[in-house]
């Protein structure tokens, strides 16, 4: 069963196209990261899925069913900003959320404890700091222990300890078999907690799949010789790299981290009659990968 399937989803605001025919599937039990720079359409997409924005085209399903409010009750969602009644306490706000989700009040103490807000539960929401508001929103998502969580930039505004706690929490929930869909512009965050990823760029889906495949950390070996076509033929016979790219007067070989051996390459080329004039091992950062995917 897929938790969420998106089919050709589009959204335009006047002349600006925020989403351009995005399709992907979120399998059950994954931590699914939606990664993209600011303004890439992450929140727009989640807004459509939660029926607070109207799509311009395409469709989506939740739990393989036509979505409606009863299916939304099964999902703990935190979208964009913590939205609560400012004049009410955390406790009262959670009581309202529980009533909307048709769950009892008995789970409220547990979720408040999970986000360390038990002591401040009777303070008005308006007196909360940004981080506390954020944590209350996460508590509200966790109400009733839903099978699916949708979190939009969950660590925004949190201090480093808070960020680590949220990551830990997400990992725990994943271990319990829950599905978590998380939007983020922080690559590092996605890499640390997600099992799957979809990368958005200016409303278009750039890549989707297993996080280790998409965001694979690679070593790159840059090689050059006088005769590039000849060099390419020789390198084709070489084993161990995942990808070969000809870039002008240079050939790039992509290796899984730590497996590139420049000596072997040099020996292989030389024994095949090619003298290299350039051979360099470059470590490729995730950032570079992200820029490569989104630029």
């Amino acid at each position: 069963m897929s938790i969420l399937s998106i089919e050709n989803l589009s959204k335009s605001y006047g002349r600006i196209q925020a989403l351009k025919g995005v399709s992907f599937i979120v399998p059950k039990g994954t931590v699914f990261g939606i990664l993209g720079p600011n303004g890439s359409g992450k929140t727009t997409m989640l807004g459509i899925i939660m029926d607070i924005l109207r799509p311009s085209g395409g469709s989506y399903k939740l739990f393989d069913e036509i979505p409606d409010e009863t299916l939304r009750r099964k999902i703990g969602t935190f979208l964009e900003t913590p939205n609560f009644y400012h004049y009410l306490s955390a406790q009262k706000n959670l009581e309202i959320a529980a009533a909307l989700k048709e769950r009892g009040h008995d789970d409220i103490p547990r979720v408040l404890e999970l986000v360390n807000l038990t002591q401040r539960k009777d303070s008005r929401f308006s007196t909360y700091s940004l981080g506390m508001k954020q944590r209350l929103a996460i508590a509200s998502c966790l109400l009733g222990d839903p099978e699916v969580l949708i979190l939009d930039e969950p660590t925004n505004g949190l201090d480093p300890v808070g960020i680590a706690e949220i990551r830990q929490l997400i990992k725990q929930l994943h271990q319990q078999g829950k599905t978590i869909i998380m939007a983020s512009h922080l690559l590092d965050e996605v890499e640390k907690v997600c099992t799957h990823v979809a990368i958005l760029k200016k409303g278009e889906l750039v890549a989707t799949g297993d996080v280790n495949e998409i965001l694979a950390n690679e070593d790159i070996v840059e090689i050059s010789a006088a005769n590039i076509p000849q060099l390419e033929i020789v390198l084709n016979a070489l084993q161990g790299y995942s990808n070969l790219k000809v870039q002008g007067k240079m050939i790039q070989l992509f290796y899984p981290v730590g497996t590139a051996d420049v000596e072997t390459i040099n020996r292989h080329c030389f024994s095949n009659g090619i003298v290299l004039n350039h051979l360099q091992l470059k470590k490729k950062s995730l950032e570079a990968k992200f820029f490569e995917l989104t630029n």
Binding site: T70, A97, L100
Partner: protein, 275 residues
């Protein structure tokens, strides 16, 4: 719907603006009527002991129904204001989004607000009914009678119209301050426009002898107002020779039509647009 009403109650029962405005409204109804009563007793009665101008005792049965309905109607902007705040608060706090995310439909979200408009109108009407009974028994000039109690029913329609306008403006404008300003400015503008229409109707009646009725009453708020008349009918009776007729059935139908329009417009707005 019971579940949604319980949630609305959770939202407002600890909300100070709700408590303050409700108290002001209850006090307003009493004060409006008491001031008229006081004025009538201490200023009009000594000058007009036969009741020629004022037309008998407005606070005794059966006139009291009409009197209290009319003067209480002047305070109806307050429940409207309350609804406007309750609706626009959801947009300000973005809880309208969260409510829908957490598991109610857009239509349910809107319907419960419209239902609140109905409930507040019913509560206002009960309050007016009790006030009328109280004045009637205290003044005690005639024997108890339900004759003319239909004024209370018209008061209810007026309250409901005002409340529905407030909900509609709330969902259309969304920002509290701006919505409240537009609500009040609209009230003034509509009254102004209504007066212009009335003068025009008088002119047409006089010049062409065509009676289009009191056209000033054809606008939403004035249609609702037009259902409850001032109890001091003497002047109106004299003026009727010049004034166009009051087509109560038409004004009544218009009031209902406007309410239906406001209901569907609010739902249409909330179900079709981005939130």
């Amino acid at each position: 719907m019971i579940k949604l009403l319980k949630i609305e109650w959770m939202k407002i029962k600890n909300y100070s603006a709700f408590i303050v405005i409700s108290c002001f409204f209850a006090l307003g109804i009493f004060m409006a009527n008491y001031l008229v009563y006081y004025f009538k007793k201490n200023v009009v009665d000594p000058a007009d002991p036969t009741g020629l101008i004022s037309g008998g005792s407005p606070f005794g049965f059966p006139n009291v129904w009409q009197t209290v309905s009319y003067y209480s109607g002047l305070t109806l902007l307050l429940p409207g204001l309350l609804l406007l705040i309750l609706v626009t608060n959801e947009f300000t706090y973005r809880t309208h989004r969260q409510n829908i995310i957490d598991g109610i439909s857009r239509i349910e979200f809107t319907q419960v607000k419209l239902l609140m408009a109905l409930i507040i109108a019913v509560c206002s009407t009960i309050l007016v009914f009790i006030t009328a009974m109280a004045f009637g028994f205290i003044v005690n000039t005639g024997s108890f009678s339900f004759y003319g109690v239909s004024s209370i029913w018209f008061f209810f329609l007026k309250a409901l119209t005002y409340n529905l306008i407030a909900v509609l403006m709330g969902v259309l404008i969304r920002r509290t301050g701006f919505a409240v300003a537009v609500f009040f400015i609209y009230t003034v503008l509509e009254n102004g426009l209504s007066l212009v229409l009335l003068v025009w109707a008088i002119k047409i009646k006089k010049e062409h002898n065509i009676d289009l009725g009191n056209m000033g009453n054809y606008l939403p708020m004035n249609a609702a107002d037009g259902l409850v008349y001032s109890p001091f009918g003497m002047f109106t009776n004299m003026a009727n020779k010049f004034l166009p007729s009051d087509y109560t059935w038409l004004v009544f139908s218009l009031a209902i039509a406007y309410m239906v329009l406001f209901y569907f417009w609010s739902i249409q707005r909330m179900t079709k647009s981005d939130l």
